[in-house]
């Protein structure tokens, strides 16, 4: 016999092929179930490494977003507080103008002064506004920033500090989150509490009322200018938030590009594999039923 003798035992080879098909089907099923073609580093080492970085960036973006959520609340609280301060100061100016009217009696002026005292208290309360347990105008101090103090000319003393905080809202992007109360309520030629105190004194003594009203006006303009800081900060965080949203989308697109299962391809592969596995099984069963020459030697 000169022809090459063939392997009389085909079944072990077929079983091995079957095992391989089974393995491929398991992989495909896992890919379909998880939606990811990278379920362990060896599935795509480079991709798995990219995924680690992408997930880290996503986690960073999430935490920046969450920080923005928190500081936005702080900014809008500060802004609306200062808005109230401005309104109250406007009311003080009208009261001062009213008090300057020469037709008023002493007792009328005393009433106006009394109302201004109320305004002073109101301003004190506004200056001590807190957000989530933190005084927003105390600098980086933990104490109530503005306290009554009879030894102070304005009757109010600043007990906070001049510290400022920054919060990171992007990679290498920080935003200042506070202005110290000492800066918000007093600046060059303007002091909120002093001006109200001066107006009260002027009304009580009926002298220099117009000057005192001008003083309150200066304080009004000063606080208005300070309020711009919070408006700007809000704008900054809003636009950063928009950027982070698109960054997040971008990252999830990257993640998809790296790891998403090509559903159609995998599903097709799976059904092809099924077909091949069935065919192999069929072949094995045919072989085991097949006859040998012995069957004919009867």
């Amino acid at each position: 016999m000169s022809s090459i003798r063939i392997n009389p035992f085909p079944i072990p080879d077929l079983l091995q092929a079957l095992e391989k098909l089974q393995q491929q089907q398991n992989t495909a099923t896992l890919q379909l179930a998880t939606g990811s073609r990278i379920n362990q580093p060896s599935d795509d080492p480079e991709g798995a490494s990219q995924l680690v970085q992408i997930h880290d960036e996503e986690s960073q973006v999430d935490s920046f977003q969450s920080s923005i959520g928190t500081v936005s609340g702080l900014f809008s609280t500060a802004d609306s507080t200062l808005s109230s301060v401005v309104t109250v100061l406007q009311r003080a100016i009208s009261l001062g103008v009213e008090g300057a009217n020469g037709t008023l009696s002493d007792s009328d002026r005393a009433d106006v002064a009394a109302e201004l005292s109320g305004i002073q208290t109101q301003l004190l309360s506004l200056a001590n506004t807190s957000y989530r347990g933190q005084f927003i105008f105390a600098g980086t101090a933990e104490t109530t920033p503005f306290v009554l103090d009879s030894t102070s000319p304005s009757g109010v003393r600043y007990a906070g500090n001049t510290g400022t905080n920054f919060v990171t809202i992007g990679s290498g992007y920080q935003v200042q989150t506070n202005l110290p109360g000492s800066q918000v309520f007093s600046g060059a030629g303007a002091d909120v509490f002093q001006s109200i105190q001066d107006l009260i004194t002027a009304l009580q003594t009926n002298s220099g009322i117009a000057t005192a009203v001008d003083e309150v006006g200066a304080a009004f303009r000063y606080v208005t200018s300070q309020r711009v800081f919070y408006g700007n900060a809000s704008n900054q965080t809003d636009s950063q938030s928009t950027y982070l949203n698109s960054e997040k989308l971008n990252l999830s697109q990257q993640e998809n590009a790296v790891s998403a299962t090509d559903m159609a391809a995998v599903a097709t592969g799976l059904s092809n594999g099924q077909l091949a596995a069935n065919a192999t099984l069929e072949a094995i069963s045919r072989i085991s039923q097949s006859t040998t020459l012995f069957d004919y030697l009867k």
């Binding site: 009389p8 362990q40 905080n165 989150t177």
Partner: protein, 458 residues
């Protein structure tokens, strides 16, 4: 001139030869499913003819031997590939267990690093908030746990591999003793010119098993079969086997000894080589990189924490228990040093509400603290390294597997029993036997005629 008795003798000889041939077929059919069995083929030889003047008279047939059909070269190739397969199989399954640690499961180191820096970003929004401070401590604890668990699991795997080394060495010793025993029997049989093919088949099976465990070189010489490892360590020489032993080194790792010499690092293939490679190279390599990362993070964050002030206005201390200067064991032993959340040094100036130092802590995320890389990049590289190791070794295993399949197909095409062939042979031998028996009957009749010749004439 031939005689009737001579013819009778030829026919009887043929009966014997065909019976012997049938014995080969019977044995083949009986062993159709025996692993490692090499089919027998009867070697029939024409007897020396008798020359009688001008006549040359055939003297019939005799069965010289039953020959085992095997290809020794193929057998050697199968052994080689089996060794490769044994090594790669062990290596891949070891690495696959290791890479589970580096799968983005949510409990992995990468996620824990992200989570920790995320918690710092939260803290920066309100440094006095104890809940946020606790969040940072919890995230630091998770980070330490992720390192502890990953390193712990790798070490556990190393211990398991160590036990497998001891078991594999025991199996090697059992097999070499059996092979040496067979060597003795085979050379005894062959010494008196007897057929030892059944024992040779058995020995081939055992050598195949041995090849799965250790690298084996086979040398066939006049005084039997010698087995050595590829670096020349004797395993079997003729009827003598040399046992391997294991000894524990100071670090508790099992080393493989042949007599007095340590051959652990010299094994190149077989299951033992795979076990040793994962145990002594891959896992220690991963552990050392984890240590670098853990030590880098701990030192970087400790330095950052010491740069600030805690909630009570005191200078910050260590956030993590400082790792050993060598970094060794840093991953396994990483531990948060503080339990009081107020000790996180968020403040840069000592005031409680300052968050200036949180940014210093968070900046470690982008600092080259491990092997010149930021922590997450270092970890990402580690993941790709593990993945590459597994996928390369798996690809190699696949190719060895298919080579081995082909070689086994080839072996079977030479040595495997085909039932069709045996059936045909059976018929052939039976017919020849029938014919020879018929000759005997005919000669018998002729002899009868001859014996009764005198009676008829007289």
């Amino acid at each position: 001139m031939s005689s009737l008795f001579g013819t009778m003798a030829i026919a009887v000889g043929a009966l014997g030869a065909e019976q012997g041939a049938m014995n080969a077929t019977t044995n083949n059919v009986a062993n159709v499913n025996t692993p490692g069995y090499s089919r027998l083929r009867p070697v029939l030889l024409e007897n020396e003819p008798v020359i009688y003047g001008a006549l040359t008279l055939g003297q019939g047939v005799s069965l010289e031997k039953l020959e085992s059909l095997r290809d020794p070269i193929l057998q050697l190739r199968i052994q080689e590939e089996t060794q490769q397969q044994g090594q790669l199989n062990t290596f891949v399954s070891g690495l696959q267990q290791a890479q589970v640690q580096f799968t983005g499961s949510g409990n992995d180191i990468g996620t824990a690093i992200s989570g920790f820096f995320s918690s710092l970003n939260q803290l920066s929004t309100d440094p006095t908030d104890l809940a946020l401070r606790q969040g940072v401590l919890t995230a630091a604890g998770n980070l330490a746990n992720a390192f502890n668990n990953t390193a712990g699991n790798l070490l556990q795997q190393k211990t398991t591999l160590d036990q497998s080394v001891t078991q594999a060495v025991q199996q090697v010793n059992v097999l070499t003793a059996q092979i040496a025993g067979l060597n003795t029997q085979i050379s005894q049989l062959e010494g008196v010119n007897l057929d030892a093919s059944a024992l040779v088949d058995k020995r081939d099976v055992l050598i195949g098993q041995l090849s799965g465990l250790i690298d084996v070189s086979t040398i066939q010489s006049d005084n039997g079969l010698t087995l050595t490892t590829s670096n020349g360590t004797a395993l079997v020489a003729g009827g003598q086997s040399f046992t391997l032993s294991t000894q524990t080194d100071p670090s508790g790792t099992q080393h493989i000894f042949s007599q007095a010499s340590d051959i652990t690092a010299q094994l190149t293939s077989g299951q033992l080589a795979g076990l040793v490679e994962v145990r002594d190279q891959t896992i220690p390599g991963l552990l050392s990189q984890l240590d670098t990362l853990a030590a880098g993070l701990a030192n970087g964050l400790n330095t950052a924490n010491r740069a600030g002030y805690d909630l009570n206005g005191n200078p910050g201390g260590d956030l993590f228990v400082p790792p050993a200067a060598s970094g060794q064991g840093a991953a396994l032993n990483l531990k948060v040093a503080i339990t009081d959340p107020s000790l996180i040094a968020a403040s840069s100036d000592g005031t409680a509400g300052s968050n200036g130092n949180v940014a210093v802590l968070a900046a470690v995320h982008d600092q080259p603290i491990a092997g010149g890389q930021p922590p997450e990049s270092y970890y990402a590289n580690l993941v790709s390294e593990v993945g590459n190791d597994v996928s390369n070794a798996s690809a190699e295993l696949d190719s060895v597997q298919s080579i081995l399949t082909q070689l086994q197909d080839q072996r079977n095409s030479v040595s495997g029993v085909s039932l069709d062939e045996e059936a045909a042979n059976l018929v052939q031998y039976q017919r020849a036997f029938d014919a020879a028996a018929q000759v005997v009957t005919t000669v018998n009749d002729m002899l009868y005629t001859v014996i009764n010749m005198g009676t008829l004439t007289g």
